[in-house]
């Protein structure tokens, strides 16, 4: 039968499974409800605005509305404005297009008591102001849910306000810098042409003054960041890039003022603004990537509960997580997220620990087992005893560690610019020495100053301005062509120096999802039945079987199953035309009276019809293609390779043996991975960490270079420095080769420009440098540096292919 689109969400399904009403088709009751609601409210123009965009079907939400009116919640998220109105910041889930934003705003505007509602489409964040006498927050959330979206609060003072302020400050500085440099450039053109064709001193002065007026705000307002950076560098006794930029720009500025007022020599205001503008734009990109990380962090925090159910004298009470004490008894319901660490005291149930260990399979917890915050209780009501308070719990420490790393990291990176630091110190020393020499010998202060400053001017912008950026730029471009994204140029240098590679197992070395490696059919049956059954489950094993069936069978029809029951961590059962279908592991089969006693190192999935097994699948997490070769090549570069995983030792060993890793650390919690990296760093190692999940995020943030897989979680990607878009282990090897080659080019460039400067600087020191010589020497040294950097393009990355 033909596929039709749902009138509300636009997703297409086969016509026979749709709910038909008049001429409309709906994929579910939720979509139907929302459609009628919108029509009744006169908001049906939403569908014209929506166009062809597909939405998520409007599924009914869990009933947790009362939590929004609790006192603890109010204290944490709601801000009471001066005029007595309440304000909250929400993240709205399910926004796909501008029509969704329109609809949400419209509905909120129509609701009584809501004074203000504005939604940002880019990050799905909303600000709502309401009158608490007219409407309760729970009602507002319910309204948003009733039209098929979901909302949860976040605390903007946590991170966002700071990040936005920082970003805006940078943006303003850049605008001023760009304005100044664009205007100075066209004045400079007049000046240069005047220099070669002759210009009256009077005109020259006017142009000089105009440049001076434009350069001043650029240097002191836009360039403030570099002065600040140089000051911190000075305090830590380090000459960094900021020192050179600020001292070069400032001295050129002072010299230009001197040349302008005494009418001797040329002014360099154009160089001043160009240096500031270019370096500032580079820094702004860094701030932008930080903003994104903050958005993802907010969504983790927003989804954590603020209250837990505590059992006291057999009575249940909701208390805020801050006031939970050690040894309190806490009750968990299915679907609830654990926020406080503890030990199970009654009941048993399966827990989703994927955000902690990276493993997708639920873990069954029995009495006295440890319950970790961050995991999700899947299927039963259990009670556990708190062993830690809220601030000592795992989830809280993960979030605060991440917060710290996001705000801290760039400062660590800044100190890495060692090579440029030495160079700038040397140039500054030479300039000072020249000045002292000329003053003491010649006795004329002015000549000594001009010569001293000309040393800096001739050396600064070109040698350093180009030596590092040119090489890294080409290195980064080459990497991007090979699907490796370096977020910042400086990371190439750090990666080149690395001597330790830590790899996560699931999702990094392996695909991260089980796929069918072997299968055995015992008797013929309708494959569509199995397909329909595995489609009802979200379990990774079911998904693996589903993917296998889709690959093998071109045409799979849809069958409607009845009485679908999902037993977490075990399997699925369903009925169809008096047939009982069972799909799951051996334990599930035995529980249903089917004898199954096979042993396998892989995960087994059985499919039984009416009590008889008809098909058996063996699934295993497959190792990514080329992992073994890539690891061998990386080892050949002299890098130590280790594996860090949250999985148990047996499966960790199996994978490690296959890819040739000898050092394995298994059963590690997120913080353990980070402390392993930290310990290695204390030994003096430069560590590269590769991971993909939230569980790797802290270790990624701790490592010198963090590499994330392209389909990893948002948090992992945002804390990392390098992203592998093609997720191939051999890209790690390529990244190593490229960074090592680029680093070599940087060193060569610095050497070449030093050589060049060792010829031009003595000339400047001796006082022979005229503006023409300076201009020539600048372009010539630039050409050499550019030419040498271009050689990076000839690096061979396909070594792994040739050998294998």
């Amino acid at each position: 039968m033909a596929d039709v689109a749902c009138t509300h969400c636009n997703l297409t399904f086969s016509e026979d499974v749709m709910i038909v009403e008049d001429e409309n088709y709906f994929c579910c009751k939720g979509c139907q409800g929302v459609y009628h609601l919108l029509n009744a409210e006169g908001l049906d123009t939403f569908y014209d605005k929506l166009g062809d965009t597909t939405l998520q079907p409007a599924t009914p939400q869990v009933d947790d509305l009362e939590k929004f009116d609790l006192e603890g919640f109010k204290k944490k998220y709601i801000k009471i404005n001066n005029d007595g109105l309440y304000e909250i910041n929400l993240i709205i889930e399910g926004i796909h297009c501008s029509a969704c934003v329109w609809l949400n705003e419209k509905v909120l505007h129509k609701t009584d008591g809501i004074i203000e509602a504005s939604i940002n489409y880019t990050n799905n964040k909303a600000k709502v102001v309401w009158d608490s006498d007219v409407i309760k927050l729970s009602k507002i959330i319910e309204t948003i849910r009733s039209i098929g979206y979901n909302a949860y609060p976040y605390d903007p003072s946590l991170q966002e306000e700071r990040a936005v302020k920082n970003r805006k400050a940078y943006y303003t500085r850049i605008l001023v810098a760009v304005f100044g440099s664009m205007n100075i450039m066209w004045i400079a053109i007049a000046q240069y042409s005047g220099y070669f064709t002759g210009m009256k001193q009077g005109f020259k002065e006017i142009l000089n003054v105009a440049e001076f007026i434009l350069a001043t705000p650029v240097l002191f307002y836009s360039g403030w960041i570099f002065f600040r950076g140089a000051y911190y560098g000075f305090k830590n006794h380090i000459a960094n890039m900021d020192t050179l930029v600020s001292s070069g720009a400032l001295l050129a500025y002072i010299y230009s003022i001197y040349a302008m007022t005494t009418q001797t020599g040329e002014v360099y205001f154009d160089s001043v603004v160009m240096i500031i503008t270019f370096v500032l734009v580079g820094k702004y990109l860094e701030v932008l990537s930080k903003k994104h990380a903050v958005d993802t962090l907010d969504s983790i925090m927003g989804s954590t509960p603020t209250e837990v159910t505590v059992i006291e004298d057999n009575a249940k009470s909701l208390i805020s997580i801050e006031s939970v004490q050690i040894s309190d008894i806490i009750e968990l319901k299915p679907g609830e997220k654990v926020v406080i660490d503890g030990a199970l005291v009654s009941g048993e149930g399966s827990f989703d620990e994927s955000s902690l260990t990276g493993e997708n399979e639920p873990v069954l917890k029995k009495e006295s087992d440890e319950i970790l915050s961050g995991s999700i209780c899947l299927d039963s009501v259990i009670r556990y005893k708190a062993t830690k308070d809220a601030s000592g719990s795992l989830l809280h420490s993960i979030v605060s560690l991440l917060e710290e790393s996001i705000t801290k990291k760039p400062y660590i990176e800044k100190l890495a610019d060692r090579v440029s630091g030495y160079f700038s110190t040397i140039i500054l020393l030479i300039a000072v020495a020249t000045f002292v020499f000329w003053w003491s010998y010649g006795g004329v202060f002015e000549t000594a100053l001009i010569i001293g400053i000309s040393v800096i001017v001739i050396a600064c912008p070109c040698a350093l301005g180009l030596a590092t950026p040119m090489a890294t730029l080409i290195g980064i471009a080459m990497a991007a062509k090979n699907n490796i994204l370096f977020k910042e140029a400086g990371y190439l240098e750090t990666m080149a120096k690395s001597d330790l590679l830590a790899l996560d197992k699931t999702g990094t070395i392996t695909e991260g999802k089980p796929s069918v490696v072997e299968q055995k059919s015992y008797q013929a049956y309708d494959t569509n039945l199995l397909y329909a059954l595995v489609e009802t489950s979200n379990h990774p094993v079911s998904k693996g079987v589903k993917a296998y069936l889709e690959k093998r069978n071109e045409k799979l029809g849809k069958i409607n199953l009845k009485e679908i029951k999902t037993i977490q961590a075990k399997g699925v059962s369903a009925k169809q035309n008096n047939q009982t279908l069972l799909g799951g592991n051996a334990l599930f089969m035995r529980e249903n009276g089917i004898s199954c006693d096979e042993e396998s190192e892989h995960t087994l999935f059985y499919f039984a019809i009416d009590g008889e097994v008809v098909h058996k699948f063996e699934l295993s997490d497959t190792i990514r293609e080329g992992a073994k070769e890539a690891i061998a090549h990386i080892k050949a570069l002299g890098v130590e390779v280790v594996m860090l995983t949250g999985d148990h030792e047996k499966s960790a060993k199996r994978v490690a043996n296959e890819v040739g890793i000898t050092e394995i650390h298994s059963r590690l919690l997120p913080a353990d991975k980070a402390s392993f990296i930290e310990a290695k760093q204390k030994e003096g190692k430069v560590a590269v960490m590769v991971g993909d999940g939230i569980n790797d995020a802290i270790a990624l943030a701790q490592s010198n270079i963090a590499i994330a897989m392209g389909n990893g979680t948002d948090v992992a990607i945002s804390v990392s420095d390098v992203v592998l878009m093609d997720e191939q282990p051999k890209s790690i090897y390529k990244a190593y080769i490229l960074s090592k080659r680029s680093y070599r080019a940087i060193k060569e460039n610095l050497g070449l420009s030093l050589l060049y400067n060792s010829i031009t600087i003595p000339l400047a020191v001796m006082g022979y440098v005229t503006p023409l010589v300076a201009a020539l020497s600048m372009s010539l040294s630039s050409l050499i540096v550019v030419g040498n950097s271009m050689r990076i393009k000839r690096v061979k990355l396909s070594k792994s292919k040739d050998k294998s």
Partner: protein
């Protein structure tokens, strides 16, 4: 061309440019560019109804604030 004319040209053009820059900076500071797509959508969905909506919201705010004031006002006994 006299020097005064050059001064005038440079001065006027820089001044006009500076006004544009200040306007842009004001826009950034007041958050008018925070959501790029909304900027465009405002033009796409601009019609009489949206205007009415905005007026309605404004009135609602006025009313709520008035009510709050009345409530907090306590007449002397």
């Amino acid at each position: 061309m006299s020097e005064n004319i050059v001064i005038l040209m440079l001065g006027v053009s820089t001044f006009l440019g500076a006004i544009g820059l200040i306007a842009l900076l004001w826009g950034v500071r007041t958050g008018q560019f925070d959501d790029q797509s909304k900027f465009i959508d405002a033009a796409r969905y601009d019609n009489e109804e949206e205007l009415r909506d905005a007026v309605m919201m404004e009135e609602k705010k006025k009313k709520a604030l008035k009510k709050k004031r009345e409530k907090s006002y306590k007449p002397a006994d």
